[in-house]
Each structure stands twice: as structure tokens, then as C-alpha cells.
Amino acid sequence: MDALASENEPRPGHITPEKVERLETILDGHVRMIHYLQNIQDAQFVPYCNLFIERIEKEILPMLEEAIVAAKILMAMDQPLPQIIIENLHKRIQEGIDLPPYDGGGLLDL
């Protein structure tokens, strides 16, 4: 049976605004990376840039957007949520935080 946090205890899933800001900064870094890549005019690099852009848009940005939403849910909750939901939201946040903040190029080398 799933355990739930008591209403009287401090919320185990508490998230600080700084964490959300950190995630937004990482997201912003990747968006800027996309703009940077879009502005590369050299024809020999364009196919690679498009590939990188596609990977950022499809794989990195959704993870960060979901991490931000997860953090905002935990910040906004007034009622205790089931432990399993809290754990899932934290997992999403951690996945977002674990992404390199402004190193889109390095990540795209994978």
C-alpha cells in the first residue's frame, strides 16, 4: 500500500524557488544554444547544426520543461500527495538538473 505524507509533517517533496530558477536557467541555456546553432551560416556545418537542434528540441527541452512543471507542482501543493507521485516528480526534477547547464554541444556529442 502506498504511504502518504502526513498533513502535519513538513512536506518531504518541498522545492525551493531557487531550484525552479536553476532549471529555467538550464532551459534558457539550451534555447540560446538552438539560436546560436540556427545562426551558423556555413553550409558545411548546417546539416550537423540541424541535427543538434533536433536533438535539443526533441530530447533535452521536453525533459527540462517537465522538470520545471514537476518542481512547480511540488511548490504549489497544499495537500499531501502520495509518496509515489512525489518520488516521480523528484525524479523528473533530478533528470533536468543532471543535464549540463549550458553545454549543449558537449551533450550532443553523445
Partner: protein, 267 residues
């Protein structure tokens, strides 16, 4: 020459014996009545626990029926002994009228010696200022006076609360809390060696497990409402739809609807 003092003694003994029989008869009648109340409380508890069990049958929960059977068995066994006491007491009272000097009276007196002493002790304890400080004798087929008092007072009131049925987890939570209350209160009136003590304790644990499940269901319902509230406030944010739909699905998978089929059967 007759011996008046011996006659007097015999007369007094006979009177005291009749008094003791009356007191015991009254006590047995009262206890029998309370066993009927206890049986009704157990029936209500069983109905409610069965409803919860129908919902959680997918989960590996401890099996209810052995616990319930044990409690029922002990009540039945104690009631059986009580009825035996009643039948023999009736026999003794008749013999005392018909053949007070007969051998059967002696044999029955021997049988009742402990019961007479127990009822006399209890009557004395009840007259004391703090009767809870005294320990009553443990006698098969009898209930301690505090248990009898609880069942005839609060126990009956509780029984009234369990009439009718509920169709929601919230209602079931209140009912299970009521059951937990009467089981634990009745348990607290019993000395640890009483035959009913252990089955009641097991029943309390079984009720607590189911109560936890019901409370979880209520909290899942509240959590869903909470998720929907937060979802509305975050609508329009990129990724919100994906996160909310998945978490709601997860939550809905944990939620179990109140078993309606049993309710229909009960009504």
C-alpha cells in the same frame, strides 16, 4: 432434644445460598445479554471489513476469516459455558427448594463455588470508590463487570451507529474508526488472560490494516483534486499537459472505487 443453634445455622446457610443464587442468576442474565450485543457488534464489524476486503483483494493482505473465526469461536465457547452455568443454576435452585439436603445440592455447590465467590467479589469491588484498582476473578463464561458495563452502555450506543450502510470511503473511514474504538475499549476492560483478549487484539490489528487502506483511498481522492487544482493554475506552461496526464493516470491506478455490488447485496 432438638438443637436450635444447628437449625439456625442451616437456615442462615440456606438463605445465604439462595441470595448467592439470585445474585449469580442476575449476573448470568446480564452477561448473556451483553454477549448478544457483542455478537451484533462483531457482525457489523465483519460486514464492514468484508466490504473493504472486496476492494483490496488484489493486494496481499492478511486473511480476515481466521481472525474473525477465532473471535466468533471464543464468544461462542464463552456463551456455551454461560448457558451451562445457567442450566445448572436453575437445577440448583430447584434442588434447593425440593431436596435442600440432597447430594446433588452438594455437587452443584462444588461446581458453583468459584462462580459464587467471583460474583460476590465483583459485587464488593463495584461498591469500592475506585473499582478499577481491583482485579476481578477470571471465570469461564463470565465477563468482567467493566466489560459488561461498557457493552451495556457505550457498546449499545455504538451498535446504533452501525445501523445502515455506507457507500463511500469517507463513510467507511468513520465506521472503521467506530469499530476500532469499541474493540480497543472492550479490550482495555479485559484482564490479559481473558479468553476474549487475544482474539480482540487480533481483530483490532485486522481493522487497523483495513482502516489504513481506507484512509489512503480518501487521500488519493483528495490528491487527485489537488493535482487538478494545480493543473489549472499551471495550464499553458509547456510540458504541463504531459506531466499532469501521466501523474493523474498513476494516481487513478492507485484508486479503487467503493465496492457497490456488496452494498446492493447488503441492502
Amino acid at each position: 432434644m432438638t438443637s436450635p443453634p444447628t437449625m439456625e445455622v442451616a437456615c442462615l446457610t440456606f438463605e445465604a445460598l439462595n441470595e448467592a443464587c439470585e445474585l449469580l442468576n442476575e449476573t448470568l442474565g446480564r452477561v448473556e445479554h451483553q454477549f448478544i450485543h457483542l455478537n451484533r457488534l462483531v457482525e457489523r464489524l465483519e460486514t464492514d471489513l468484508m466490504i473493504v476486503d472486496q476492494a483490496i483483494e488484489k493486494h496481499p493482505e492478511a486473511v480476515l476469516s481466521p481472525t474473525l473465526e477465532l473471535l466468533r469461536g471464543v464468544i461462542q465457547q464463552q456463551t456455551g459455558v454461560l448457558l451451562e452455568h445457567k442450566a445448572r443454576l436453575k437445577q440448583l435452585m430447584v434442588e434447593l427448594k425440593v431436596r435442600p439436603e440432597g447430594a446433588l445440592v452438594d455437587a452443584l455447590m462444588l461446581y458453583f463455588s468459584r462462580l459464587f465467590a467471583a460474583t460476590k467479589d465483583t459485587a464488593w469491588i463495584e461498591q469500592q470508590e475506585e473499582p478499577e484498582n481491583y482485579t476481578e476473578r477470571l471465570v469461564e463464561g463470565l465477563l468482567p463487570s467493566q466489560s459488561t458495563r461498557f457493552l451495556s452502555g457505550e457498546g449499545q450506543l455504538m451498535l446504533g451507529k452501525f445501523t445502515g450502510y455506507t457507500s463511500s470511503w469517507l463513510g467507511m473511514k468513520a465506521r472503521l474508526e467506530g469499530h476500532q474504538y469499541w474493540v480497543s475499549e472492550l479490550f482495555s476492560t479485559l484482564p490479559s488472560g481473558h479468553a476474549l483478549a487475544q482474539p480482540l487484539l487480533l481483530m483490532l490489528q485486522a481493522t487497523e490494516r483495513r482502516s489504513r487502506f481506507v484512509k489512503d483511498q480518501i487521500l488519493y481522492q483528495r490528491a487527485l483534486v489537488e493535482l487538478e487544482r494545480i493543473g489549472c493554475s499551471l495550464s499553458g506552461i509547456r510540458g504541463a499537459e504531459r506531466v499532469f496526464s501521466l501523474e493523474k493516470l498513476r494516481l487513478e491506478a492507485l484508486m479503487i472505487s467503493f465496492p457497490e455490488s456488496i452494498m446492493e447485496g447488503c441492502e
